[in-house]
């Protein structure tokens, strides 16, 4: 145990005459990082408070007196300090020393703060959502500014998102919501719709994923941690802005102190017309003969709406459970589709997607379960989710939003009878989903700890299309997927806490079942429909280690590695009738050897300046990539195309991050990420994989002012800069002409924001301007993103009512 330091700073503002005073304090660790969720109790009274994301707390209306404060938190040793209240406004900074076993605590409770996670050895970033939740910022925007993360979104609010971590993307990256794969929830309850105010923080694990996030995440995982805890609060927010975007959310928790009975609810609603302006080579109207006139068009079929919520009842902090909740999650969304993967001269009209989910959930968490040192954590989900695609309009529309005319000048309909090529559809996918995650950890002593985790997720999928005949629907196969993943982790803390290490092994078992109706004869020779059931088992294992070594109190080295895999999905195993892809039940998982080596320098304090620098070098080496074989004369007319393990890929690069602050007023964050994503030919040549934004930088600046206009207020000013380097859809060698056609140009966007916390400490108002210079922003495949946009938001929060 280290010795305890505490510093009491008293600042005098003015002489006042009232008989009660207010304590405004900050709880920090020795390195000045804030302590979140510390419980501060004024001994001898019934007054208490809980520190927020900046470690700040307030307790008001204390009679002038000398009090003793008791501070307790899971991160640090408990502590008592005394304070003399002799004026209206009293400030205090309380420094705590870190707990010996905090890494253990981190894993069991998932409750740590970013610094702790970021020095645990993983290449991890923990994104705080507190500040963003008060501003007009989407959860995805937050992720996009995180070092090494690139979000590629096919348009505005609610449009399809692809996450890339250190160059790996698509199904290599798994998204979790409280440790449950987000695929269980579907698109209606996703990072597109969940407001930041529902989220406690977001953990981004790059390359090496801890055992408690069990899934076949080849390139990393993003875990969205929703609010937990037993602190009473109520929060409501509404935001309105450009493109008729309205976003509202309500979150609340009420805890009965005596019984421990707790009620928790969250609701959200998002709506946007997404009718932003687009222009460019495909944005034209066509006249007689097909003559094209370029225009600047407003998107007219891009409405997004999502509504959802979560309600839970249970008990917190009772003898038999730290947390026990049962509840329900319901969500529903509607998204119009303006165009296909690319923006072409043919905008879609009235094509839309709908999805909904209704799931029951269960959470149970208990430390010292049965015996001291044993902790249990169960999170389960069961329900159904559905998705429909609606595309039945054959009429052609132009980018003007009006009916398009053909070469003769007549309004016309598409040959394929729908907006997207492929014909009219009302395709519906119904899924029954279940997922349960169980974690057990046993701490032998302060040095050794074992963790066992299991995760099951199952999806029964049924497809149908009311536009098809019953006969056709009858013979559409169903696909079931059952995935069991086991992980065993050993954690070691030694050398006076300087060395933290863990090793883990993971065992993956995936069973995919294809049920395909077929015709057979019964005893009487009549034709009957029978189900042909084929199942495929994929088993594999992975392992890895994570280590951090503090060679100096200000310098920590971090190294981690994992042999990660991605199990083939149902289409890769069983094919897809529509695309003439047939089953390959012997397909193997994709494998990747992932390595991270990084350091964290700081925090250095020079007078009132504080800064931290961290960096990570990474390699992802993928083999057995799954893909379709190239078309050739032997298979061009073949119905027998199968997915095969054929390729490889390698991503090498570096992430770096700088945090700087001056007093508590000025904060600066800058990060840079650069990598090479290549594939190696049989001859050993490395070829760049195109269509990859490989160079990104983000910077943000925050300046905080107190007591502007009125006392007890806080004004924050924000500025952010996003840079994405030029990249090309195809690799064009230098010296070859015509390369400009394929380039996605360099993009720079700047945002400004202001937020004002009113003296009641309950109301915060924010105004944000996105893309202030209205620069063209592109995303994947040159799809244009919104230009300048303005948003206003009001938040109302009550803590400890």
């Amino acid at each position: 145990m280290r010795y305890i330091i505490f510093v009491i700073t008293l600042l005098f503002f003015n002489i006042i005459h009232s008989q009660t005073g207010l304590i405004s304090g900050t709880v920090v660790l020795e390195d000045d990082s804030p302590v979140i969720n510390a419980h501060i109790k004024v001994l001898g009274t019934n007054r208490s408070a809980i520190s927020d994301f900046d470690g700040k707390f307030e307790i008001d209306k204390l009679q002038y007196n000398t009090y003793e404060l008791s501070i307790s938190t899971i991160e640090a040793d408990n502590k008592k300090v005394s304070i003399n209240i002799d004026k209206e406004y009293n400030t205090i900074i309380i420094r705590l020393s870190k707990k010996m076993n905090q890494l253990s605590e981190v894993v069991i409770n998932g409750k740590s703060i970013e610094t702790e996670k970021e020095t645990s050895g993983y290449a991890v970033n923990v994104i705080k959502t507190k500040e963003a939740s008060l501003r007009n910022i989407q959860t995805n925007d937050l992720l996009n500014t995180t070092v090494g993360v690139k979000i590629r979104q096919n348009g505005g609010l609610g449009s399809e998102v692809n996450y890339s971590l250190n160059g790996l993307s698509g199904s290599s990256i798994k998204i979790f919501i409280d440790g449950i794969p987000s695929s269980v929830y579907g698109s209606s309850f996703s990072l597109n719709s969940i407001p930041p105010s529902m989220i406690k923080n977001i953990e981004v694990y790059k390359g090496v994923v801890p055992g408690h996030l069990s899934d076949d995440a080849l390139g990393g995982a993003i875990n969205v941690v929703l609010h937990k805890g037993s602190k009473d609060f109520f929060n409501a927010a509404v935001s309105y802005g450009s493109f008729n975007t309205i976003q509202a959310s309500v979150n609340g928790l009420y805890h009965f102190d005596k019984s421990g009975f707790t009620i928790k609810t969250s609701l959200f609603n998002n709506y946007s017309d997404n009718n932003y302006k687009v222009s460019g080579r495909a944005i034209v109207v066509t006249g007689l003969g097909g003559v094209q006139t370029p225009i600047t068009a407003r998107r007219f079929n891009d409405v997004y709406r999502s509504t959802g919520g979560m309600a839970q009842i249970g008990y917190t902090n009772v003898s038999w459970a730290d947390q026990f909740f049962i509840g329900v999650t319901a969500s529903d969304d509607y998204k119009e589709v303006q165009h296909g993967a690319f923006m072409t001269i043919r905008p879609y009209k009235d094509r839309f997607l709908e999805s909904d989910a209704l799931l029951a959930n269960l959470i149970y968490q208990k430390d010292d379960f049965l015996t001291k040192g044993l902790a249990i954590n169960i999170n389960g989900l069961y329900g159904s989710r559905n998705r429909t695609v609606n595309d039945t309009v054959a009429a052609a529309y132009s980018w003007s939003g009006e009916r398009a005319i053909d070469f003769k000048g007549d309004e016309y309909e598409y040959t394929w009878g729908s907006q997207q090529e492929g014909g009219p559809t009302l395709a519906k996918i119904e899924r029954k989903v279940a997922s349960i995650r169980t974690g057990l950890s046993y701490k032998i002593n302060d040095h050794h700890k074992f963790l066992a985790n299991h995760s099951y997720s199952g999806i029964d999928r049924e497809d149908s299309d009311p536009l098809l005949s019953l006969l056709e629907n009858t013979f559409i196969g169903t696909r079931d997927l059952h995935k069991n993943i086991y992980a065993l982790t050993y954690e070691l803390v030694t050398l006076d806490q300087k060395l933290r290490a863990s090793v883990f092994g993971k065992y993956y078992h995936q069973k995919t079942i294809s049920i395909d109706p077929a015709i057979a004869q019964d005893e009487n020779g009549n034709s009957i429909v029978v189900d042909e059931v084929v199942s495929s088992n994929n088993k594999d294992d992975g392992y890895g280690f994570v280590t951090s070594f503090a060679i100096h109190p200000k310098l920590t080295l971090l190294a981690s590695a994992e042999k990660a895999i991605r199990l083939p999905d149902e289409t890769e195993v069983f094919g897809n009738d529509g695309d003439n892809v047939v089953a390959n039940t012997s397909i193997r998982p994709e494998k990747s050897n992932n390595y991270n080596l990084g350091f964290r320098l700081g925090a250095f304090n020079i007078k009132k300046n504080q800064f931290t620098v961290s960096s990570n070098f990474f390699i992802r080496d993928i083999t057995d990539r799954i893909g379709l074989p190239i078309e050739n004369s032997l298979n061009v007319d073949d119905e027998l195309i199968v997915y095969v393990n054929q390729g490889n890929a390698k991503s090498k690069g570096v992430d770096a991050q700088l945090n700087y602050s001056y007093k508590n007023n000025l904060g600066l964050n800058f990060n840079i990420s650069r990598f090479d994503l290549t594939t190696t030919t049989d001859a050993g040549t490395e070829i760049d994989i195109p269509n990859t934004p490989f160079f990104t930088m983000n910077g943000s600046l925050r300046y905080s002012l107190k007591d502007v206009f009125q006392e007890n207020t806080r004004l924050n000013l924000f500025y952010s800069l996003y840079f994405t380097g030029e990249f090309s859809y195809l690799n064009i060698p230098s010296g070859v002409g015509g390369a400009d056609f394929f380039k996605v140009p360099e993009q720079i966007s700047q945002d400004l924001g202001i937020s004002y916390a009113f003296p009641d400490k309950k109301t915060v108002m924010s105004f944000d301007v996105k893309n202030i210079f209205d620069k063209p922003l592109y995303d994947n495949l040159r799809v244009q993103k919104p230009g300048r946009a303005l948003y206003l938001k009001i938040n109302y929060t009550i803590n400890n009512y």
Binding site: Q292, I345, L471, A518, I630, Y729, L730, I732, G737, F742
Partner: protein, 459 residues
């Protein structure tokens, strides 16, 4: 050289202007006068641009997914083995997200492109060939995407570089539910309706000429068994210029389950016949000689010669045939030209081909005995005679297991000479010029390859 280039520019512009107005195809039968016109309008020498095209590797050798690169040389340079051509180093990338389907004017002075897939999929552009990597876009853009989608199957018609035609087919199953909507057991499959769309494009003025769509039926028996037209391609004009023939691929589903069938009897080769230029009155003609598809792949699959259209077929169980459609717009089932028989191989498969005006043709093919190379079956060139129905492998061209012709697209016909490219995937090769009259093969300019890439022809 600079002086020469200027001359070529003048020549090409002149040839373009005049050539476009006066059909000057060496494939047309009645071309003697026009050929003279071209010569007169041309220059003292008989040079023309030869544009070499290569398909760059995406991530697998031979996949051709890394872009289509083109580079132009004069026909003299093309014939000169001391000249090296490196489109992968200093060519021009055709603006197409996936492999471009290129066409050239008959005199080689203009390259026509319709972008395949991506944001500009379906957009038509033309380029003046000015030598080397210089291809200057000319005229305005027009898109056929609203008619035939972002991945159009198009071809230039042999009407003096005036017209391009692109086609599309979509299918829908027709089911009789026997009046009981909720009972699948008494439902019966009737047929699969194939709706074809055909668009014609004015290549000179970048305008849409015409578009028509039709439901195209097979015979009742064929439809009852579940056969339907699943892909169409390779439109070609008859000699009279009043009918358009469109190649077709047939697929079959199982009528009891409406799921795709894989092992079924291959029907006689079929072609859709439409009135031209009205694009009306579709009918389907069937060969009793050849079986299998007539939609080709990326290279023109049917040509007019001596009053008849000669069409290759693919996936024929007895080896590819060259089929003949006569002036009466019916298959001439007395014309039997089987490549297996002519070459003495099994399972010959015509990947691409091109006749000269003399009825002699160069055929790119593979057969069952082809070695399996890095990107698929090894390809060969043969010299064939449409009149004598004979073919012989061209042995003066070197072959290699990695010499792969599946994506092969382009042959330049210059009089009786046909220019081809030969280079195994990732290896250097040469242009070869075949004198179809004498069978003499001239080794031309060296083709400098890049790893995993291959050449897809001359234009």
């Amino acid at each position: 050289m600079r002086r020469t280039l200027l001359d070529f520019k003048t020549l090409t512009l002149t040839a373009l202007t005049i050539g476009l107005m006066t059909a000057c195809s060496s494939d047309d039968t009645d071309t003697s006068t026009e050929t003279e016109t071209e010569t007169e309008a041309g220059t003292e020498d008989e040079t023309r641009w030869i544009t070499v095209a290569g398909a760059q590797m995406g991530d697998e050798p031979g996949d051709g997914n890394g872009g289509t690169l083109i580079y132009s040389v004069t026909s003299e340079e093309a014939k000169d083995p001391s000249v090296s051509i490196s489109p992968f180093e200093n060519g021009f990338t055709a603006p197409s997200n996936r492999t471009a389907r290129l066409q050239s004017s008959e005199d080689g002075s203009t390259i026509f492109n319709i972008s395949y897939a991506g944001d500009t999929g379906g957009t038509y552009t033309k380029y003046l060939v000015e030598g080397g990597q210089t291809f200057t876009q000319s005229g305005t853009e027009v898109s056929i995407e609203p008619y035939v989608g972002t991945a159009p199957r198009w071809i230039k018609l042999f009407d003096g570089d005036k017209t391009g035609a692109a086609v599309y087919v979509s299918t829908e199953n027709e089911i009789d539910d026997n009046g009981t909507e909720d009972d699948a057991s008494d439902d019966t499959y009737i047929r699969t309706n194939a709706t074809i769309g055909v668009v014609t494009l004015d290549l000179e003025n970048s305008l849409i000429n015409n578009f028509q769509e039709h439901s195209v039926a097979l015979t009742d028996e064929e439809e009852a068994l579940g056969y339907y037209i699943s892909r169409i391609d390779m439109p070609v004009l008859n000699e009279a210029g009043d009918k358009l023939y469109i190649g077709a691929r047939l697929s079959k589903l199982d009528p009891t389950t409406t799921e795709s069938d894989s092992d079924y009897e291959i029907l006689g080769s079929k072609t859709i016949v439409l009135d031209y230029p009205s694009l009306l009155n579709p009918s389907v003609i069937t060969s009793t000689v050849g079986y299998g598809n007539t939609n080709g792949y990326r290279s023109i699959n049917a040509f007019l010669y001596d009053g008849s259209v000669y069409q290759a077929n693919q996936s024929d169980p007895s080896g590819s045939h060259i089929l003949k459609i006569d002036a009466d717009n019916e298959y001439d089932d007395s014309y039997i030209f089987n490549l297996d028989d002519a070459l003495g191989v099994e399972g010959a498969y015509i990947l691409a081909w091109r006749p000269a005006a003399n009825g002699k043709a160069v055929i790119a093919y593979r057969h069952d005995g082809s070695e399996e190379g890095v990107a698929g079956a090894q390809g060969f060139f043969a010299l064939a005679d449409l009149n004598t129905k004979t073919a012989t492998r061209i042995d003066a061209i070197p072959y290699n297991a990695d010499f792969y012709l599946f994506q092969y697209q382009g042959f330049v016909v210059d009089g009786n000479e046909i220019y081809v490219t030969e280079a195994p995937v990732g290896e250097n090769g040469n242009i070869y010029v075949i004198d179809t009259e004498t069978g003499e093969v001239t080794k031309g300019a060296e083709l400098v390859n890049a790893e995993g890439s291959h050449f897809i022809g001359t234009f």
